[in-house]
């Protein structure tokens, strides 16, 4: 029973990582860039949701929608202002810019909302399920987070596989120049990718803060890095891979805290990452891509 409880804790935080990782993997898969500001867009989403529920007194669902709208606009703006001018330059330049955007968002949040942490009220209102006299508790947040991340995963898979826009995205991912020659608007497609990724970030932010209630300007950075690790473990660019990687990472983290050391859990998580990359350099579900010469 005890093991089961830790497993559930692990899946709980893991599914939050998974939903963040889905955003990372989506942008990487299509725009071929690591959007390190993703974690901070999550933080912005959580703040918007917090403000709408706490200061305006509107219901949780409205706050999520508001967060999604704001983050989508923010995502498109970031892409237009920071990444688009650098398209075609070295990937290192884009990476550094992404880190810059990340710092910018964190500091802007400090200015707007202050440095004192806020306590996020969970959007889940129903009671936790308790088994065996409270020895095993499954909180509503766990169920909602897992359900939402599976929904998002299936939705994204269908979207990229079946719709016109999704096909355009895959075409851009495979060969940007050829896609352009075939009449695909590359800029628009990449903007769309950022819009979707940022809307996902808003959902992830709300779920993250429902699970872990502390909200401060740095809230997104550590989960963002872990989710990036999760995306790499699962195979970056692969949608089911992000999901698998996220949940696996959450479970490894929780079990190493329980059975090995609460202090070295991060070291263990990153050691696992190294091991997996040594055995499977493209991650668990990543595809081997032939480099064109």
């Amino acid at each position: 029973m005890q093991v089961l409880q830790y497993l559930i804790n692990g899946v709980s935080i893991g599914s939050v990582y998974a939903i963040i990782a889905l955003g990372y993997t989506m942008v990487y898969g299509i725009a071929k860039m690591l959007n390190f500001a993703h974690g901070d867009v999550i933080m912005v989403g959580a703040y918007i949701s917090f403000c709408v529920t706490n200061y305006m007194g509107l219901p949780a669902i409205v706050s999520i929608l508001a967060a999604m709208v704001v983050c989508t606009v923010l995502g498109i703006l970031i892409e237009k202002l920071a990444y688009k001018p650098l398209r075609g330059t070295s990937s290192l330049a884009v990476l550094i810019t992404a880190i810059g955007v990340s710092y910018f968002l964190q500091n802007a949040a400090q200015l707007i909302w202050g440095t004192a942490p806020k306590s996020f009220t969970s959007i889940v209102t129903f009671k936790p399920f308790s088994f065996a006299d409270g020895a095993l508790v499954i909180t509503g947040e766990v169920i909602i987070t897992i359900a939402v991340s599976i929904l998002v995963m299936v939705g994204l898979t269908l979207f990229t596989g079946k719709t016109r826009m999704g096909k355009a995205m895959r075409a851009v991912s495979e060969d940007r120049d050829a896609a352009q020659l075939m009449g695909i608007n590359v800029n628009q497609t990449i903007s769309m990718t950022f819009a979707i990724g940022s809307a996902l970030a808003a959902i992830a932010g709300v779920l993250l803060c429902s699970t872990v209630p502390t909200l401060q300007p740095t809230t997104g950075s550590m989960p963002g890095i872990r989710a990036f690790t999760a995306a790499v473990i699962g195979g970056i660019g692969s949608i089911p891979g992000a999901m698998l990687g996220g949940i696996l990472l959450g479970i490894i983290e929780t079990f190493s805290k329980k059975y090995i050391s609460t202090e070295f859990s991060d070291a263990i998580v990153f050691a696992v990452l190294i091991l997996i990359l040594l055995v499977k350099p493209t991650g668990l579900l990543g595809k081997q891509v032939q480099e064109k010469v």
Partner: protein, 381 residues
């Protein structure tokens, strides 16, 4: 062009010389107290609280001093909770002619300034730097708050006296000196008193975003009392998660947790029954005057113990100066020697306690007070 620069430089040097002259002039009727603290940045909440508490004390004293009484000139500098910037801030204050140093607010800046204060023989009293290393830096360094191990030990005594728990759990932040010091003090005293610690678990700054495992561990070990020596941010997480899984032991925090009730968006129901050690109770009748003044100054924010510690430091220094006949013309080193001697037998009453005394190393001795949260308010425990 070169000539122009040379002239400019010469002009600047002349100005600097005059500026220096201005500073050296001391007014006997006014003592100069300087303070550094994080007034901006991540720890700003503590620095601004101390600064405001000190300003209130200075205003009160200057208003009460009248025409001929001893007045205070107060100057604060921002150290951003950074050791190096703190030292620069301290030097700025020294150039200004500071006689007494009422800082710094946080531990790392205190430790970086202390050696200079010892060398300069400037009397230093930190309102809230709680590491025992600070007081041990020199005989002229004093503290207004408990040292971490002392506070931890006080907590253990309270647990034993009031019989708060039979199976004790501890969750602490192993990457934080404050938390570690408290934990160690608590553990040592607990062993002495025969308290039964069944679960000891920790987290670090990097993985503090998810504390569910640690809370579940305490629950599994059947802890009916959990000691939480850390800050309000993590406390809110622990309380929220424990509530979710229906775990209801007695939670016990330290002064760092002060402010948990005022955290934006926090559901105060979760903190019902939380006991915390804090020397200052904003809901007590004897502190109302200070609370009202603080709220008028800080947009209705309720003062925490940092503000009260700052207020007490100013009064402690001022009262001691009056008693020993120190005035604005006394050189800092002479004042320091006099105060050092005076503090050995000094008994001070302030907002954070009555009959406070200091030992030879500069550590404070006062009655440890605890409060319990009932109906969203502090009640003396």
């Amino acid at each position: 062009m070169k000539k122009f620069f040379a002239l400019m430089m010469a002009a600047m040097m002349v100005v600097a010389m005059f500026a220096g002259c201005g500073n050296a002039e001391a007014d006997a009727g006014t003592i100069k107290i300087g303070m550094t603290g994080p007034l901006t940045g991540g720890a700003a909440v503590y620095g601004t609280a101390v600064e405001a508490g000190m300003k209130i004390a200075v205003e009160e004293i200057n208003a009460a001093a009248g025409e001929d009484g001893l007045k205070i000139e107060f100057k604060s500098q921002d150290d951003e909770h950074d050791a190096e910037k703190a030292l620069n801030a301290y030097n700025t204050l020294k150039d200004w002619g500071m006689q007494f140093f009422a800082g710094a607010v946080t531990t790392a800046p205190c430790l970086s300034i202390a050696p200079s204060a010892v060398e300069d023989q400037i009397f230093m009293m930190t309102p809230s730097g709680s590491s025992e290393k600070i007081a041990n830096s020199g005989s002229n360094i004093f503290q207004m708050c408990f040292t971490d191990p002392n506070q931890g030990a006080n907590a253990a005594v309270l647990v034993s006296e009031k019989n708060l728990g039979t199976n004790i759990g501890i969750i602490y932040d192993s990457s934080d000196d404050y938390s570690k010091g408290l934990m160690q003090g608590f553990k040592d005293k607990a062993a002495e008193l025969g308290l039964n610690i069944v679960c000891e678990t920790s987290f670090t700054n990097a993985n503090s975003s998810d504390l569910s495992t640690q809370v579940t561990q305490c629950k599994d070990e059947g802890c009916d009392f959990v000691f939480l020596p850390f800050y309000a941010t993590e406390a809110a997480q622990v309380l929220t998660y424990a509530n979710k899984i229906g775990y209801e032991p007695t939670f016990f925090g330290c002064d760092g947790m002060d402010g948990v009730l005022t955290s934006d968006g926090f559901n105060t129901d979760l903190a019902e029954g939380l006991i915390l050690m804090t020397p200052f109770n904003p809901d007590a009748p004897e502190t109302q005057d200070f609370v009202a003044k603080y709220q008028a100054m800080m947009n209705d924010v309720v003062p925490n113990q940092f503000a009260a510690d700052g207020y007490d430091v100013i009064y402690a220094i001022y009262d001691a100066c009056v008693a020993t006949g120190i005035d604005g013309a006394t050189p800092a080193a002479d004042a320091c020697a006099k105060l050092e001697e005076y503090f050995a037998t000094y008994s001070f009453d302030g907002l954070t306690g009555t009959g406070m005394t200091w030992d030879a190393s500069g550590m404070i001795s006062k009655i440890p007070a605890a409060v319990i949260i009932e109906n969203g308010k502090y009640v003396a425990f």
